[in-house]
Amino acid sequence: PCVSGGLPKPTNVTFLSINMKNILQWNPPEGLQGIEVTYTVQYFIYGQKKWLNKSECSNISRTYCDLSAETSDYEHQYYAKVKAIWEANCSKWAETGRFYPFLETQIGPPEVALTTEEKSISIVLTAPEKWKRNPEDSSVSMQQIYSNLKYNVSICNTKSNRMWSQCVTNHTLVLTWLEPNTLYCVHVASFVPGPPRPARPSEKQCVRTLKDQSSEFKVK
């Protein structure tokens, strides 16, 4: 056992949660630059009795710990805490607030597939996948967890710089009445009605609508 309170506590202890992948992260204690500090993490299920150890996060030097497996029952709520250790000294515990994965996990962007016609673009969206314990586990779509999952599709006509967005619930969308032979850029963010969650839009994708075939014939 170490002398508790001999070190300042880690700061900004929070969960970064995306698609139920729940990472506990923190900042090193202030004023300890150059000192080889290590950390130990524990977690707690709200309503139960004991703090639990995460063996892979005992005496670690990194400032994050993957608690996805330990917090995978998303109808539960959790706390986590971390302390800093250096030689015979250690800090008091620094604790998170109550973490509710079902309400707080960020919904990652969908996969976006675009196909173009002369005056239209077809968009097919695939919902993001939930974190899984093992790569060979079967995939669970975030759509299965959040039946009210929606998408905010943002479109930009790069010629006119006109931008607009549409909120859709199904996975296919056709943009019509577009200009031929024009570059359009699209990005999509998933969202779920309810508590505010930070949005994580997809990478911008740009495609050019086909040339207007009729004008081609006139020229000839």
């Binding site: 709200y46 309503g47 139960q48 109808e75 709520q77 607030g97 109550r98 508590p195």
Partner: protein, 155 residues
């Protein structure tokens, strides 16, 4: 948009507004709850509630929140600057509860008994704690309650 708790209907309530109201005070309220080893709205209270039970259960829970939790938490809202959110939640709970008409027919007795059993689990857990601590804990668990209520919400 309306809530459909079995045959009961409650219209004119914007669930998003309730979420935003609670989320504005969630961290402050839950930080006041030091008894993390107790959870009032445990899984057994809200899991696998049938449609028929849901109206009886939500009526009992909202009545308890209004007559006990909010009534005693009110004097702390000024201290913890949660009055605006508190009022939004309380007024909307009143609006929902006032529209609920759970069936009282005899053949519903097994259903009402199951719903009552669930509510008693919650109430007993509440009464095991000191009054102030229990009121704070119950207010901090409104996110659990809203998550369950959302299953009965139709846009």
């Amino acid at each position: 948009q309306e809530f459909r708790f079995g045959s009961c209907r409650a219209k004119g309530v914007d669930l998003q507004e309730l979420w935003e109201a609670f989320w504005a005070v969630k961290d402050a309220v839950q930080a006041q709850d030091n008894i993390t080893s107790a959870r009032l709205l445990r899984r057994e209270v809200l899991q696998d509630v049938s449609d028929a039970e849901s109206c009886h259960l939500i009526q009992a829970l909202l009545k308890f929140y209004l007559n006990t939790v909010f009534k005693h938490y009110y004097k702390r809202t000024v201290e913890f600057r949660t009055l605006k959110s508190f009022s939004t939640l309380a007024n909307n709970f009143i609006a929902i509860k006032s529209q609920l008409r759970p069936s009282q027919e005899n053949e519903m007795f097994p259903v009402t008994e199951r719903a009552r059993g669930r509510f008693l689990l919650f109430q007993r857990a509440f009464r095991r704690l000191d009054r102030e601590a229990a009121v704070t804990k119950a207010f901090g668990e409104v996110d659990i309650l809203l998550t369950w209520m959302e299953r009965f919400y139709r846009l």
